[in-house]
Each structure stands twice: as C-alpha cells, then as structure tokens.
Amino acid sequence: MKLNGAQILWECLLHEGVDTIFGITGGTVLPLYHELVNYPIRSIVVRHEQAAAHAADGYARATGKVGVCLATSGPGATNLVTGIANAQMDSSSLVAITGQVASSVLGTDFFQEVDTTGITMPITKHNYLVTDINDLALAVKEAFHLARTGRPGAVLLDIAKDVQQTVIDFEYPAEINLPGYKPHMFGNARQIKQAAEMINQAEQPILVAGRGVIIAGAFAELLALVEKAQLPVVTTLLGKSDLPENHPLCLGMGGMHGEAFANLAMQNADLIIGVGSRFDDRLTSTAETFAPKARIIHIDIDPAEIGKRVRVDLPVVGDARNVLRELVSVVKPAEHTPWLNQIEAWRKDSHARDILHQECGELQPQFVVNQIWEATEGKAIMVSDVGQNQMWEAQYYHHLRPGGLITSGGLGTMGFGLPAAIGAAVGCPDEPVWVVAGDGGFQMTLQELATVVQERLPIKIAILNNGYLGMVRQWQELFYQSNYSGTPILGPDFAKLAEAYGIRGITISDSCEVRSAIEEAKTYDGPMLIDFRIEREQNVFPIVPVGQPIHNMIRRPIPQGAQG
C-alpha cells in the first residue's frame, strides 16, 4: 500500500486503538491535519497546546487508554512541555506528536524550529526524532508500547514535515525492537513469600497505596489482601480510590495535608507495605522521620523507586496486580483488633474537628466539596486543580469510582483541572465529570471553556473563589508573617464569563444556596459553572510544616460546642 507519512501516522494510530486526539494545527503539521479528515479519529481542537496535553492526560487517566496530543513545531511544541512533564511525573500514558521543520533545514534555526526532543528529553520516558520515512511506523509502534507498558509515561514523537509528505510502501511493523526495555511484571516468588511472612508477623501494619494500583487495575486484588489480613490502608493523593473510600479499612489520604489519624497510623506502624507509591515528600515529609518504628516493604514496578527516598527492608519489583494476587494467596488471615481500635480512636478525634454541616452564612470550601460528594454519591469523576481546592477535594470527597480522582500530583500544575476534565469527559461521556478549581488555577487555562462548548461536554465546574492564590497565601500566613506578597488576585465575574461562552453560570455566596446550586448543576443538561465565593482566608488543615515529621501537624481547630 503506497501511503505518505501523514497517512502512515494515522494508520498506525488506528492500529494502536486511537480514536481521539487533542491538538492544534500549524505549519509543520499541515499534512497531518490534511489527511486526518479521512480517518475515523475524533479531532478535538483546543485553544492552547498545554490544554491538549492535559486533556490527553485526563483522557488517559479516565479511560486507561493512551492519550494522544498533537502540536506544531516551535511554540506549539514548547506549549506542550508543561503537559508532558505533568503526565510523565504522574506516570500517565501519553503520546505527544509534534511536527518538526523539514529535515533538509533542521538545525538552521528555521521559522518555528526548536529542539523539541532536546527540550523534552528529561521529561519523557523516551522520545523520537523521525527524519526518515522508513523509521516512522516503527517509532510510532514503539512509542505506544513504551507509553502504556511497564511504568507508563509520556513519549514524544517529533516528525519532520518532509517525512509526513514522503510516499512509501507501507506495512505495519509486526514487532518492536527495544532490546533494552524489559519491564519487570512479576514479583520475585521468594520476596513475595518473605513479604507475606513480614505481614503475618506484623501487629500494627499499614498499607500505603499509590497510583500504581489504579494503573495496574489492582482494585480487587488490593481489597482481597487488605480484607484477608485486615490491613488498614492509607492512600497517597494519586492513590485515592484505590480502595472504596467508605471501606472501614480505608483511612484516606496521608501526608502533608493527610488526615491526622492516617499520619498517626503510619508513624506508629510496625510495618509499612507500599504498593505503587514512590513515597514522595508530600506523603512522608523528611524520609528519615517517616514511620520510624516500621519495617518497609516496597512493591513497585520501577526498580529505581526502591530505596530512592525511604529505606526499604524488602523490595518486590513487579506489577501491583500480579504481586498482590500472589501475596493474597500466601498471606495468613489476621485480625489486628487492638491496632484497628487504636486507629478508630484517632479517627474519632479527627471527626470532632470536621466542619461539614453548616447553616446559612459565610461559605466554607470544605462544605461545598462535601455537598458535591453527597450529591454525586462519591461516584463522579472529579478533576481537581492544584492548591487548596485540590486538598479540600481530597479531604472531603470520598471516592467510590476506581480512578475517580484526576489531579496533578507530582508536578502540581495549576491550570490542569479544566483541560484534564475535557479529556475525561470525552473519554467517559456517560459519567458525570466535575471540576473543582481555585480562581487562580482556573484563570490559567480558562480559554478552554470554548472547547467545552464546541465539543458539547456537560462538565460541571465548581470554582472555590477566594481571590487569592490560596495555598501560597496560607503558607505566608503560617510561615511568612502574613506577608501576602503576590497572592491577592483579581478575577472576572466567572458566571458572566461562562455565559459569554454559552455556558450556564451562577454565583453562590451563602451556605444555604449550595445544595440547590449543586443539584441544579447535576441535573442541568450541559456544562455549568458555579462561582462559589468562599470565606477568603480559610486554611487547609491539617498541615505538616515543611521539614517536620508527619505526626507534627497543625490540626483543625475543634469547632465551638463540639465534643472531643
């Protein structure tokens, strides 16, 4: 079959099961867009390339498939960079395709030329510069293989314009050629047995579950293990929904803004079993002070994560699902009653500090998130932005849908929320998709409201609007003598802005209006934005100050009249 490079690219994408791409056209991808109309691939045109990468990332996380974004050379490619780094940091399966200037002028600082593979080298799992049409199909096949297997990540394909236009006889390559790439899928049997023995001996075990569980689809295996051995589970931010968050063994998120009882449980554990978590600093604070009494088992597919941050007594390198399945069969049933009782006592103490139910009056962000949770019964796909809004979502939305939280964990990319929600809504059209964002992050990518309307996506947007870059303001209040330098920000009338785009928009500033507003959004047939004018200087508690062990938290204040 005689095809040009552009046609070959789309043929290869069809072979890889791609049915949707997010992108913006431009000079060096003209041949690609020219041919795209002849293929059954939905092209979602966004307003800024960063959003294309975030949308593809959100699509990948919501569906478990590879997300694909496309941009032209030069500024198109550099605009993708934030989104690529974000996907790579959170092990999201992303293939980013960029056009490049023709190979004959490569390296001459041609119009819209930039060294895309050079720029993206440290933020991708791998990348390819394709300057020969004969290399194209294999590069595409390898890129998809790398993006979706092992520890997933971002892979970039930079394709010179002349390659897109050259015609050759096309045959889809039967095999990839990656002799240096062998992901460890199955854990070592001896180490799994040893892990089981350590679990059997433990009296105060805690399982720390990360995003690896979601990536591996190990929900059933995790549930079986923790129920059999009665292992309380603390999740990372990205591991939320590893276990249904109404499960008695689920302690919710731990770490810098984790629940106090979850942090106390980790600090008092005699065994920590990490599954698909890289024990990052937001979870452990300083590595030396983390879980001082515990031996640590680390189960991860990436050998480089073992021993990178915390000391590890027993590594098991493998896919979470495979390892947990083996572990369930060899671990002994256990009760751990005194330990679970201790944790329950800590949990009760935390609940006394909850600010959930409110009469009319000034709007509390925690209450808003809690009401969204109630209205959606914990089953929505929640896409949070970054900052206080993200932490309130994590603390007050108890996820039941596996993989139901899409958020920027590692990179902490403000502006991720709306475009990622676009990807999620495109990938899962039958599920409710909510964005929880702050007024700061939302203003970083709000141009994508146009994409929401253009693609008719019924996304519900809750802006927790306090007129500040709130998380930084909180740090200034707590650690920088309330010197609010650079944090007060002006925003537009978000409801009017939404209406200008053709999106229903309302503003809520009183607690008693929250419930009805959320109910309206839930049933409204189409996208809707609610601008929640929250109490401006609310803080996220608990908070572990930087450098402190995670049991040294600034706790939530106990509300007046409450017991505890």
Binding site: G118, M121, H126, P179, G180
Partner: protein
C-alpha cells in the same frame, strides 16, 4: 576501590554500560547525570565488540546508595542494554593522555628522561615543545603531569577512564 572521602563517604566508582548505537543516546545519558545531580568524574564512549552497540565507562563519585541509583536510573533509559559496577580490584582501568609541554633545547633531555621513567612516548617534536603520549591509570598520568608542570604544559587532553573486568569474565550483553 579508591579512597573514601571521610566527609561524604563517597569514592570514585567505575561503571561500564552498553547501549544501542543510536542518535541521541549519549545525550540521554549525560542529561540523566545532570538531571539527577550525580557527580561524574569522567565519561568515555566508543565502539564495543558488537556492531551497533557502544560501550561507555563512567567514573562516578558516590557511595553504594548513589551507585545503585545511578545504575537503576541508567537502566530506565530505553536504549541502555546493560550496566555493570566494576569493582576496581578485579578490573583493569586505563586512561590515555596527550601532553604538549614547553621544551626548549636546554630541558629536552630532562623531559626525555621523565618520559622514559613513565614508559610514555614522545609522539611529536617541535622547536620549543614536545608532545607526549601516556597510557596508564589516572594516578600514573597525574604523576607525570605533576612532574611536567614546572616545565610549562601548553596543552593537555585526557580521554577519561576505560575499564574491563580481569580474567575471562565479560560485561557483554547475552544474546
């Protein structure tokens, strides 16, 4: 193993890596060292016994934990096939240096004597300079350089360390 720095616990460790001979592989490697903040003393790359596979020798400053991370991170690079930690005591290491030294007629004989003692070679002669080639361990090269410095070193080029395990063991890629 070389001397351990009592302050950091670090010493100079030699790693040998085999990688696919493809464009960009070397930049992936050097990029990794910079990005992960590893302290490398030298990196030398050339062909291996197998066509299409390059061999690199890296001297990295670190302790066991650092070396373990370097190896694991190198393995994450898609085009890296094999990485071995070469224990100094069971391996041979060599470096080559070219030294252009200021050598007017008056001191030429002295320099020639030094070159002989170090079993080095004079490979180029000019009116006021000699170019010396020396192969050996870094220590040996350092010593010759120290001896030559008073005469005035005009130019110096060192290759960085290459290493190989002693005996019939290899660090090759098993097919």
């Amino acid at each position: 193993m070389s001397t351990v720095n009592p302050k950091t616990g670090y010493s100079r460790r030699t790693l040998v890596g085999l990688m696919e001979d493809k464009p960009g592989v070397l930049s992936h490697v050097s990029n990794l060292f910079r990005r992960r903040n590893y302290n490398i003393e030298s990196l030398s790359v050339g062909h291996s016994e197998t066509p299409g596979i390059s061999r690199m020798t890296v001297v990295v400053n670190g302790d066991d934990a650092v070396v373990e991370q370097v190896i694991k991170q190198l393995y994450k690079l898609v085009n890296i096939l094999k990485v071995s930690d070469i224990d100094d005591s069971s391996s041979v290491t060599r470096e080559l240096a070219l030294i252009k030294v200021y050598a007017p007629a008056a001191v030429r004989a002295e320099i020639k004597q030094l070159v002989d003692i170090f079993r080095a070679n004079i490979i180029d002669v000019a009116l006021e300079s000699l170019t010396i080639e020396i192969t050996g361990t870094e220590d040996k090269i350092d010593s010759l350089i120290a001896m030559l410095r008073p005469y005035g070193i005009k130019e110096l080029a060192r290759t960085g360390r290459v290493a190989m395990v002693r005996g019939s063991t290899t660090t090759g890629v098993t097919k």
